[in-house]
Amino acid sequence: MRRTTRLLTGAALAAGAVGLVVTPAYGGDSGGLEVFPSSVEPGGEVTVHTEFCPRGAAAGDASAVGAGSFSLVPSTHDEQAAGRFRVPPSAQPGTYEIVATCAEGGKRVAGDLVVTLTAPRGQTHPRGGVKTGVGGAFGHDPVRTAAGVTALAVAAAGGTWLLHRRARGDGI
């Protein structure tokens, strides 16, 4: 089973390489692979995902940053392929290309990862409250208001008519 997987992965990688050589436009060399966080400290964990691999399986390659190969597997809740790897603590600051090759079709997608020595995330948090409402839930529905005014007019007309009759002495 493992042997089969390895063979398949090898075939996929080879197909990807051939695809790149034969049809450079097909590869999508820059892009297609979303890297998160896009900027990370040495030793940090990175998640990658792509929507370009059929059925969500792919072989990932993070050897540029010294993290070797990893697999991308289908997400449980959508059609995307996702995988992760850990940047080695010895990684040097710089920009590295992370690559994934679809198991099916051999399409190659890539994304950039920046290794930095200072924590890029979570440095500042928001201040104060959040303006997430304008009171629209309190608003009077114009249709409803118009219907109410009409009903009020009908009641007034009826009442006036009856009072008028009574004043004339017609009696009720």
Partner: protein, 214 residues
Amino acid sequence: MRNDRRTGDVAIAAASVLALGCAVLLLAGGTEHPPPQPSTAQAARTDAPGAGARAAGTAARALPPSPPDRIRIPAIRVDAPLTGLGLTSSGSLDVPPAGRPDLAGWYESGTTPGEKGTAIVAGHVDNADGPAVFYRLGAVRKGGTIEVDRRDGGTAVFTVDAVEVYDAKHFPDEKVYGPAARPELRVITCGGGYSRATGYRGNVVVFAHLTGSR
């Protein structure tokens, strides 16, 4: 002849009373639906710090960072996509576009939901047209479940520790946004009373921590 008139008068009287009743119902009652607000029983316990959290569920191990895609709060039937949010020029958390009342957002320069630290999600309680995605957020109760689908294919499951209301003038930044030693989540919307002149007075904040994943 007189009987006919009498019947007509009674009909007119009945119709008038009915119309008056309808007018009262349509104009006075029923048009105002303030969003639900949490009771003080849903606030964090101050007598025994951490007791509420332990009772609600054991903290789960932190997940690796991965951006979130959707948030689900089954108790109030929320199942909404998430968009990335930044900060406004004044340093407050930005909000999703008002024209997309079904959309919630997360603070994408901060912690991702499931990762160690405090992840922040915000959404509208209403817009000019009526209720929005977090209209019923104030009805969430301690021990309730919040699920976040992540782009790495997994789902982070949080358990609610407390639901609080804060006045905008005294918003506790550190308590709501400050760092945490375990994976935590805040879900924020407007609340705390409303007046036509000044709008909502503050925010409803749901505090939760990671208790599982799948």
